[in-house]
């Protein structure tokens, strides 16, 4: 116990991130079920009025994004894999790394306090003023949770950027890095530059609410829209903080299970990944298409938002291209990864009308938007995390999960999410607004809502089975053979199973031909 709490080993820290974020995922998932049950029939179903329900909405959104997806991808996977992938014995600042995971755990505890304090926060994960300032809910808990997670992320970002820049194995050039390492670098650059803006915006909320300042109060010279701009200035790029590492994991898994290098490596890295980072910071106002902002700014951001299709298109081509002439085996990590190819397609393409200001003027704040971002951000990224957990499971535990149950879990999840969210596109186009406790004005949507609730319970069953396969595998699983997938990446080829302290028995050095994708006749030069 003690060696886990006070550990500075990046692998254990990674696993601590995994456990914490899966805990957040579970609780936030239960909130989702409560929300779905409440909506399954017209009128109050579970609770009398929206006061409880609004807290579920807050917790579901805030915890899924801030405490599950971001720490799951940039905390767990990055921590566990990056030093192993670049041949480093640990990260640049191991003790700071330990401090970040502590901050993360404190934040989880703080977030969970939502359920015991009187007047819990009910400000959604966006915390728009003036509501967040006027509400009786405890906005402070929201703000402090953001602070802790933000600070933890900034420390992580500095740590990993320094690690990758200075601690790569001798001989390892930039074009020999795993694509996942690149996506994480991109994500951390966004985190480092943008999080301080979010942190200061929510801090000003805190001052407005508890110290009587008027930063966002128009009566006294504040500006309501400025908060929204500052919030999305970080929170839109945060989508790429989630999406990029998710794509990174998927590419790793596709490469390993198709036994092919990542398609068009350099274009993927310098065009796809860094293009997304650059463009992704200039499109935040698409969240403000109906905000009442000046007209030409809203139409201007339509152009930048549409341009995001270029780097994301390159990434998609790379995902599909990696399969070309491959040798594909459908183990659990691979079925999750291939399923995301379809999820990204669905989620990404439904983003096209949402990039267009004039179409969004109707679609904004409806179930259409909600279904869209659940596909592209929620489900795709969650499936990527799951693909990652299964993929590195033999490495982390030295044991094997149960293939059959894992596949059953996958199919329940996959069918469940589509049953939950497909129908919601439809009623969204017909006008069903998001964040509603009830829908008396649209009684005809009741059956669709019910269908979606059924889907949510199928997902719940799938998730339960999935998590059980991990627990079962970690404790009772068969011993895994070394490098069971036949990967060429350094974490599989140069480590012990599971890797011990210091990671590598002998510090690895690589030749100029080496690459994590040396499949077939490929070398680093032929990528």
């Amino acid at each position: 116990m003690k060696e886990w709490i006070f550990t500075t080993d990046h692998k254990r820290i990674g696993i601590l991130y995994l456990v914490g974020s899966i805990a957040a995922f579970a609780v936030a998932g239960i909130m989702a079920l409560l929300i779905r049950v409440e909506l399954s029939s017209l009128g109050p179903t579970l609770v009398e009025d929206a006061s409880q329900y609004n807290v579920w909405l807050y917790f579901h959104g805030a915890a899924m994004i801030l405490a599950f997806l971001i720490p799951g991808l940039t905390g767990f996977v990055a921590n566990y894999c990056i030093p192993l992938m670049i041949g480093a014995h640990d990260v640049a600042f191991p003790r700071i790394n330990a401090f970040s995971v502590w901050l993360f755990w404190f934040a989880i505890v703080l977030a969970l306090l939502t359920f015991v304090i009187p007047d819990p926060p009910d400000v959604l994960w966006t915390g728009y003023p003036p509501y967040s300032v006027q509400t009786d809910g405890n906005t402070a808990f929201y703000v402090f949770t953001v602070h802790l997670l933000g600070f933890s992320s900034i420390l992580g970002a500095v740590n990993f950027l320094c690690t990758v820049i200075y601690m790569r194995a001798p001989g390892m050039g930039w074009n020999q890095l795993n694509v996942f390492v690149w996506t994480t670098l991109g994500a951390f650059v966004i985190q480092l530059v943008m999080i301080p803006v979010l942190a200061s915006a929510v801090t000003l909320l805190l001052f407005d609410k508890y110290l009587g300042t008027t930063f966002f109060n128009p009566e006294n010279g504040g500006d309501v829209l400025l908060y929204q701009n500052l919030f999305w200035f970080y929170s839109h790029p945060a989508v790429y903080v989630i999406l990029l590492p998710a794509v990174g994991i998927i590419l790793e898994v596709l490469a390993t299970f198709a036994r092919n290098p990542v398609f068009n490596y350099k274009v993927t890295v310098y065009g796809g990944i860094w293009g997304t980072v650059l463009l992704g910071s200039d499109v935040w106002a698409h969240h403000l298409y109906t905000s009442g902002m000046v007209d030409w700014l809203r139409i201007g951001m339509m152009v930048t938002t549409l341009l995001i299709s270029l780097p994301v298109g390159l990434l998609t081509i790379s995902l599909v291209g990696t399969l070309y002439k491959g040798s594909i085996s459908f183990k659990t990590p691979m079925v999750y990864a291939t399923s995301t190819l379809f999820l990204i397609l669905l989620g990404g393409l439904t983003g096209i009308p949402l990039a267009m200001t004039s179409l969004t003027v109707h679609l904004a704040e409806t179930y259409f938007v909600m279904a869209h971002f659940h596909y592209i951000m929620g489900i795709t990224a969650t499936f990527a995390v799951f693909a990652g957990v299964y993929y590195w499971f033999p490495l982390m535990t030295g044991k094997m999960y149960n293939e059959t149950y894992s596949q059953i879990g996958f199919w329940l999840n996959f069918i469940g999410v589509n049953l939950t969210f497909w129908p919601l596109f439809g009623i969204g186009i017909d006008g069903m607004p998001r964040r509603y406790f009830d829908y008396q004005m649209y009684p005809e949507f009741e059956s669709t809502q019910m269908l979606s609730t059924v889907g949510a319970f199928i997902v719940a069953a799938g998730m339960a089975i999935t998590i059980l396969t991990w627990i079962h595998g970690a404790i009772l699983g068969e011993k895994a053979k070394p490098n069971p997938w036949g990967s060429k990446s350094m974490e599989w080829t140069h480590c012990e199973y599971p890797p011990g302290p210091g990671n590598f028995p002998t510090p690895p050095e690589v030749t100029a031909e080496w690459s994590p994708y040396n499949y077939g006749k490929h070398t680093a030069q032929s990528l």
Partner: protein, 282 residues
């Protein structure tokens, strides 16, 4: 680190502001608050409906003839020998200062319309009033002093924009609000400034506000300027939009944090003699 930067910034900022409240010259016995236009009630109101005006040279014109730019509207009456001339003269001197700041130019960026709410005024009294204003050449061309063509339209016009006035027989004068209306190119009220001591930068910002929706890409500086300030309804003037500066400060803080850490880490890496490999070239 970021939080501390913030706290320091806030402490610095907390020293500013407070001063400058609205003050009207005290030549009126009426509570000036009664004559204040309730601006929030009337922002966004459309002013065009059926208004034809006659300027001091007897020429008819409408809102359309004022061009596709914001208009500063001042309601006055021309037989007034106290406040109205003073108020218009005040506007003249503020606008002279605005001209000197040279961010917005009369004629290019806005026009001025002084309009009589007194049915007894005619182009002649308008002309005399305008003469007394002694407009300098630069303001002369785009500042119209005018009367309504149809007097019975006056009341509905002033009601629509919330301008309340009444004749006081004992004083033999009108009591009326002292307000500058800023009218957008779409001819809607975008701002009402009450302060008779309006300073040039408030005037300028209100003009920028009125043309905000029409700004061209070349006016990027004006756009940025108007983003940096926001309107304070309680004090009736513009103030710095602090959160914007705090956000920029934090953005800078994040980048600095990385620069510092990268430096520390480089030294550390060198000290540990971790070889950095030869594949450094991109």
């Amino acid at each position: 680190m970021i939080r501390w930067l913030l706290i320091i910034a806030l402490l610095l900022l907390s020293g500013v502001d407070e001063a400058n409240c609205t003050s009207l010259p005290s030549d009126s016995q009426i509570d000036p608050e009664l004559l204040r236009v309730d601006d929030k009630e009337y922002l966004g109101v459309k002013v065009t409906e059926g208004s034809v005006f006659i300027d001091s040279q007897g020429k008819e014109f409408t809102w359309k003839d004022l061009g596709d730019k914001p208009v500063i509207l001042v309601l006055s009456y021309y037989t007034c020998d106290g406040f109205c001339p003073a108020f218009n003269t005040e506007l003249r001197s503020v606008l002279e200062r605005v001209q000197n700041l040279s961010r917005v130019k009369i004629g290019d960026d806005f026009a001025v319309l002084t309009l009589s709410f007194d049915g007894n005024d005619d182009p002649e009294s308008a002309g005399m009033f305008r003469e007394k204003l002694a407009l300098p050449d630069e303001l002369e061309k785009d500042w119209k002093v005018a009367v309504f063509k149809e007097r019975d339209r006056i009341k509905s016009f002033t009601n629509k924009i919330g301008y309340k006035f009444f004749w006081s027989p004992p004083d033999r004068m009108f009591f009326h609000p002292n307000a500058f209306y800023f009218i957008t190119p779409e001819r809607r009220v975008s701002r009402i400034l009450h302060n008779s001591l309006t300073d040039a930068s408030d005037m300028e910002l209100a003009i920028l506000d009125a043309k905000f929706s029409r700004m061209k890409p070349t006016e990027i500086v004006n756009f940025a300027v108007s983003l940096c300030y926001s309107y304070n309804y309680k004090e009736g003037k513009y103030g710095l939009n602090y959160p914007l500066f705090i956000a920029f400060g934090s953005l800078f803080g994040g980048i600095t944090a990385f620069a510092v850490a990268a430096n520390v880490s480089r030294k550390k890496a060198e000290k540990l003699k971790i070889s950095r490999g030869k594949g450094e070239k991109l």
